[in-house]
């Protein structure tokens, strides 16, 4: 009923569509964090989040390790709280002395969170090795950032207006 020629052209059409999808997947889209499954959550409070948005990236030295999942106001003291989802690939990687700052990529680029890894005391390293504090149910002793933990050391976004204001103010003193 269907001629060989029809089958051939339909096959060619399907092959072309698959090639187009592959091109879009490989060359055009970033595979990155999309759909790569497992994440764990961290919280942080900032005085001012500037232009940070949900889905902004979290970078360590330029490498994307996670994304902002939610931004809301702490009901009690009205300080912005940012929820981060970090890829589980980086579980037990960042010490809980790490700090966060809101940075801008380029002059007009979008804002992202830079995570500056902290340090671990030698006695904590021994605790990790010997007492396996990061493999128990209760992770409070673990010196790494663990799911649900809050990062205390945060630096707000630079607001250009504030900077100019401070600059003019300091000029006025001289």
């Amino acid at each position: 009923m269907i001629s060989k020629r029809t089958e051939l052209t339909v096959g060619f059409f399907v092959a072309l569509a698959i090639a187009a999808a592959l091109l879009l997947a490989m060359r055009v889209a970033n595979q990155g964090m999309a759909g790569s499954g497992e994440v764990y959550m961290l919280n942080a409070q900032f005085d001012n989040i500037g232009g940070l948005k949900p889905r902004s990236s979290v970078k360590v030295g330029g490498v994307v390790v996670g994304r902002v999942s939610r931004i809301y106001l702490n009901e009690r003291d009205l300080i912005p709280v940012v929820e981060l989802e970090i890829s589980s690939e980086y579980k037990n990687t960042f010490p809980d002395t790490s700090s966060l700052s809101i940075l801008t990529s380029g002059l007009l680029g979008e804002q992202f969170i830079g995570l500056q890894p902290g340090f671990i005391f030698p006695e904590d390293l021994i605790a990790i090795e010997e007492d396996k504090v990061c493999e128990t149910e209760d992770l409070r002793e673990c010196p790494y950032l663990t799911a649900g933990e809050e990062i205390l050391d945060t630096k707000s976004a630079l607001v250009l207006e504030d900077l100019i204001g401070q600059f003019l103010f300091s000029q006025g003193d001289e």
């Binding site: 879009l24 055009v28 970033n30």
Partner: protein, 259 residues
């Protein structure tokens, strides 16, 4: 009184049309599991998809080239011609790819479907099928419906890929944007699930459902005369173009508008 009468009649007609087209759609949809109709569907993919390929390829190439040319002349003022890649890719993937493909599809394949089925009705082929106890919904409508729904996303993917390559031809090979930044900034910006699955695939499936539904119903319900067929064909193109543009706004608002 006359006004009220005509208002009531046209309302009843509209609602009847919605009902009749839904019944036709259900009749066609639940006919798919018949495996012997798969061959018919493939033959229709050839008619609906493969024969639309040329217009899709050519318009995709030129739209990509125009996007790159227009984008470059504006971006170069700000020294931001490195952002040409994401600009071309995002506008093609999110909007132009699915929408232009659907508009071309409505003009190329939708009108042909309406005319074909309208002529089948005018020459009483559909009634003859019924006489032979063959359900025309299963035999004629269902394969065309599924062929359209299968072909549209593939055409939209091909359109987008060719458009981005066209942008590369003009932007990189002709105007001298750096090839590395064209691809790498594009890759950093475009997301598979948000821009390609949402933007191209889901949008074009929705558009395909609407276009094919309108085209088949207009053909199936047309007045079986030459004027009736020509009117039905025109209405297919007009209604499906309007619904594509209207639905595109709704889908864009749902996919990219929130947050």
């Amino acid at each position: 009184m006359n006004f009220l009468q005509s208002l009531g009649r046209s309302t009843i007609e509209k609602i009847t049309a919605v009902g009749a087209s839904s019944i036709m759609l259900f009749g066609a949809l639940f006919a798919f599991p018949k495996w012997k109709n798969v061959g018919l569907t493939i033959a229709q993919v050839h008619v609906v998809g493969v024969q639309s390929l040329l217009i899709i390829l050519v318009s995709g190439l030129f739209i990509g080239m125009v996007m790159a040319l227009q984008g470059y002349t504006i971006l170069v003022n700000y020294g931001a011609e490195g952002s040409l890649g994401p600009m071309v890719a995002l506008s093609i993937l999110r909007e132009l790819g699915p929408v232009v493909t659907a508009l071309l599809f409505a003009g190329r394949a939708g009108s042909a479907l309406t005319a074909e089925i309208g002529l089948m009705k005018a020459t009483e082929q559909l009634s003859s099928l019924e006489m032979m106890a063959v359900d025309p919904l299963r035999r004629v409508i269902a394969p065309r419906f599924w062929a359209g729904v299968i072909s549209m996303p593939m055409l939209a993917l091909i359109f987008s890929a060719v458009g981005i390559l066209g942008g590369h031809i003009v932007g990189v090979d002709w105007l001298g944007v750096d090839a590395g930044s064209y691809w790498s900034i594009m890759q950093a910006t475009v997301e598979w699930d948000k821009d390609i699955v949402n933007g191209v695939i889901i949008k074009s499936i929705v558009f395909a459902l609407v276009v094919v539904w309108i085209a088949l119903y207009k053909g199936y319900s047309c007045i079986p005369t030459s004027e009736g067929i020509s009117k039905a064909t025109t209405e297919t193109v007009v209604f499906s173009s309007l619904s594509i543009l209207g639905l595109d706004f709704v889908l864009t608002a749902l996919m990219f508008g929130a947050n």
